[in-house]
């Protein structure tokens, strides 16, 4: 296949991915709405301090709605495969790592977020996140196709480096994890105490914490490898360029979340609000900094 066909294939696969994620979202939503009756949740505190949630359901779940949830997971996997293939074909078309501009970066970040969700739901009961992760994935891809799209092509010399593979890949992986953490945190804040279709607060808080604990060292590594790259490319490893400033702010904000969570009186809601502030900083760094501030990092090609 020629580079052009590969590039076109990639573009078409992205559209297919959006449709698949939307279809999956409908399935998850049906399951949330009809298969999970508002449950009576009681949180029991075990003797070692861990909380155990005990759920009692009033009525039997509706069989077809449960099936809708299972189909949704299947659709998510197919969408994920399309997303992955789109990224791979883009990379083959341009003969470099397929995250050289903002369009490619957002596509990869969504791939990472969906990957985190899909692999998490293999091991933990987190299917309730599906609907929300799918919405974010579909909207994010739509946004990147409509607003950020850049024709497949080579990158400027500064980006033509193996550091892309190290630095940007780490940033993408961390962003994917933080996205799932952000979804869980929002659900936590939306869900009220008492019976709800949404899962127990303790479960949401655990999901958020788990992904952020994995994401934080990866983000730290991304920032450090960025400094190493800057040292190679620009002759200084840290110059308070807007992108660097916001990467740092994001890092501090997630560190503050970890500290807050370890501080008595800040657990739960307050800590998760801090994590959402941190997620906001992450998104601002991704979108806002490229659009508003410029600086050496603005290769993003936003028109």
């Amino acid at each position: 296949m020629t580079a052009d066909t590969l590039a076109t294939l990639s573009d078409q696969l992205i559209l297919a991915t959006i449709l698949l994620y939307l279809a999956a979202m409908v399935g998850y939503a049906l399951e949330l709405a009809y298969a999970t009756r508002p449950v009576q949740v009681r949180e029991l505190v075990a003797s070692d301090g861990t909380t155990v949630t005990q759920e009692t359901t009033a009525t039997e779940p509706v069989a077809w709605a449960v099936r809708a949830g299972r189909y949704a997971v299947g659709l998510s996997w197919i969408g994920w495969a399309a997303n992955l293939t789109a990224t791979l074909t883009r990379g083959l078309a341009v003969e470099r790592w397929p995250w050289g501009n903002m369009y490619e970066f957002v596509v990869a970040m969504i791939l990472a977020a969906v990957t985190v969700y899909l692999f998490m739901q293999l091991r933990y009961p987190v299917r309730f996140l599906g609907a929300f992760v799918s919405v974010i994935a579909a909207v994010g891809l739509g946004f990147s196709v409509r607003v950020l799209y850049t024709q497949a092509g080579p990158v400027v010399p500064a980006l033509d480096s193996y550091w892309v593979a190290i630095h940007v890949t780490a940033a993408i992986a961390a962003s994917g994890l933080f996205t799932v953490g952000g979804v869980a945190a929002v659900l936590y804040l939306v869900r009220r105490e008492g019976p709800s279709r949404l899962p127990a607060l303790a479960d949401l808080e655990r999901v958020a914490h788990r992904v952020i604990v994995i994401g934080f060292p990866i983000w730290t590594f991304a920032v450090i490898s960025g400094a190493l790259w800057a040292d190679k490319a620009w002759g200084r490893y840290w110059n308070w360029d807007p992108k660097e400033v916001w990467a740092f702010i994001t890092w501090v904000a997630y560190a503050a979340y970890l500290h807050a969570r370890a501080t008595a009186g800040w657990k739960g809601k307050a800590a998760l609000i801090v994590s959402l502030v941190a997620f906001g900083c992450l998104l601002f760094n991704l979108v806002g900094v490229n659009i508003f501030f410029g600086g050496l990092h603005s290769y993003a090609d936003v028109k």
Binding site: P157, F216, P217, W234, G235, Y237, W240, I249
Partner: protein, 516 residues
């Protein structure tokens, strides 16, 4: 992280009439409490926000100058609060120093406590193991040595009594946490040392020209406070060739650069053997830790100017400033102080790939496919002896220059080899060729390596402090009856599965342990 490690989070009690010492102690306790550290950390982040909103002198002085030109009063107010020098401002330094102190005050006592903790034996078994959150009981012929060996195999540190074994694991969590926080301190120190003992210099070199690493050779030189001019690494080089390639027509991003490559012949020291270096973006020239980076390039058309008396008054390349980076249309200023009877000066517009559009000429591509230059001549007094400093890229300051002949918006451009005869027999200017220039930045930063090592240590420490769990296990055996108790000291971690495995490894018959 551990439930019992939280005494430092209690707010220090307020001193009641304790005098200076009391206040100092209260101040120190407050400063080094985790809450203060958190607030300082937030302030640190918040304080760097204006550094991304306003242009910074150290990063983009031109942009700062534009602020002053647009609204002088506002810019002066911003400047009063150091908003163009956020990262060198006293208030930023204050936060930085307080955080630094807070970290020291927090890390030192914790390190001492941890060193003691590491050397302590695992605490003796509580009387009733079945009261612990994790416990199991089974009948087996287990002896103390056997139980201790099984736990040691799982890398617990073990202490034994006549009929009990105490085991503990996971000190690495606190070790990692301390390594992380200490590394942050080292990182802050390394960054500080780098800016004190390092320097940065910028220079522009035209193809064919050379550069020797001395303070005088730089166009802009910014040393740290403790650098002296003799300590510069004595290397030199000549730029033999520069090549740039660009995306060709037919793509959305036509004209975007693809590769830059500058061929240098380098002498690492006077008298050293010459070596050839291919300088590229992301691949700096390294001479004993002093690094030289390729950071920009542009065109330097070559001119020969003959004055009114028939003498060649100027001959050579003139570096032009790139005014449009997607077409490399450039602006040139040529000053000819040696011209007689009157001094001459020229403004030029260099077009690397020229295309006529109606009565105008534009550049359509950054490569020099069809280079031309438009010339506007002036004559008069350049005022170079006036003592007022002048930019080589600007004619604006010369009040005593008069246009030669009629000035038009779009003079017919000269191709290579063509010349323009000046009116009134004032001479002529020939466009003889095209060279390119590169801009280089040289940096020496002795803090780079320590900063890198500290960052690596920080990541390792961080991973340990976030993943290692601290837990204790006790075993008692009496008359063939074994009781096992377990306690996780890391909040929120799941110890149930591991405890079950431990019990199974102790019980030769592997009865199903009843946990919780």
């Amino acid at each position: 992280m551990t439930v019992t490690d939280q005494q430092d989070q209690k707010a220090a009690p307020k001193p009641v009439g304790l005098g200076v010492v009391g206040w100092l102690r209260w101040g120190w306790r407050t400063l080094t409490s985790m809450r203060t550290a958190l607030i300082l950390l937030f302030l640190f982040a918040l304080a760097s926000v204006p550094g991304s909103v306003f242009p910074q002198r150290a990063v983009d002085p031109g942009q700062v100058a534009r602020y002053f030109a647009d609204d002088r009063v506002k810019a002066e107010w911003l400047d009063r609060f150091w908003l163009f020098d956020v990262f060198r401002s006293p208030w930023f330094a204050a936060i930085y120093l307080l955080l630094f102190l807070s970290l020291i005050g927090c890390v030192l006592p914790r390190t001492l406590a941890h060193l003691k903790e590491i050397r302590r034996r695992p605490p003796a078994a509580p009387r009733n193991l079945l009261r612990l959150p994790h416990h199991a009981e089974f009948a087996a012929d287990l002896d103390v040595a056997g139980a201790a060996a099984a736990l040691r195999k799982r890398r617990f540190r073990v202490d034994t009594g006549p009929d009990w074994v105490a085991a503990e694991k996971g000190h690495l969590r606190e070790t990692g946490n301390l390594v992380f926080h200490v590394s942050l301190l080292v990182l802050l120190l390394a960054v500080g040392a780098g800016s004190l003992y390092g320097y940065k210099g910028n220079v522009l070199v035209v193809e064919g020209d050379g550069f020797a690493n001395t303070v005088a050779a730089y166009d802009r030189y910014s040393p740290g406070a403790s650098v002296n001019a003799e300590s510069l690494e004595p290397f030199s080089f000549r730029l033999t060739d520069f090549q740039a390639t660009y995306i060709g027509p037919g793509h959305e991003k036509v004209g975007q650069p693809l590769t830059y490559s500058a061929k240098l012949s380098v002498l690492d020291a006077p008298g050293a053997p010459e070596r050839t270096v291919d300088l590229r973006v992301n691949e700096p020239l390294d001479v004993n830790g002093t690094l030289t980076y390729l950071i920009g390039h542009g065109y330097a058309p070559v001119f020969r100017v003959t004055d009114g008396k028939g003498q060649v008054a100027y001959e050579g390349p003139v570096p032009c400033l790139t005014s449009n980076t997607s077409t490399y249309e450039s602006e040139c200023v040529i000053k000819v102080p040696d011209a007689r009877p009157q001094q001459l000066a020229f403004l030029g517009r260099f077009l690397p790939s020229t295309l006529p559009v109606g009565e105008e000429w534009i550049s359509v591509f950054p490569g020099a496919a069809n280079p031309t230059v438009q010339i506007w001549p002036f004559s008069g007094d350049l005022g170079l002896d006036s003592g007022v400093p002048q930019s080589v890229y600007d004619l604006g300051a010369h009040k005593n220059l008069k246009p030669l002949g009629t000035m038009t918006e779009q003079p017919r451009p000269l191709a290579v080899g063509q010349s323009l005869d000046l009116p009134d027999g004032a001479g002529k200017i020939e466009f003889t060729g095209v060279k390119e220039w590169i801009s280089l930045q040289t940096t020496y930063d002795p803090g780079r390596m320590p900063a890198l090592l500290a960052s690596i240590a920080a990541v390792i420490g961080l991973v340990l402090s976030l993943t290692v769990r601290r837990r204790r296990v006790w075993v008692r055996m009496k008359d063939g009856q074994v009781t096992v108790g377990g306690l996780s000291r890391t909040e929120g971690s799941n110890f149930t599965d591991e405890f079950a495995e431990i019990v199974a490894s102790l019980n030769p018959r592997s009865g199903v342990p009843d946990d919780r």
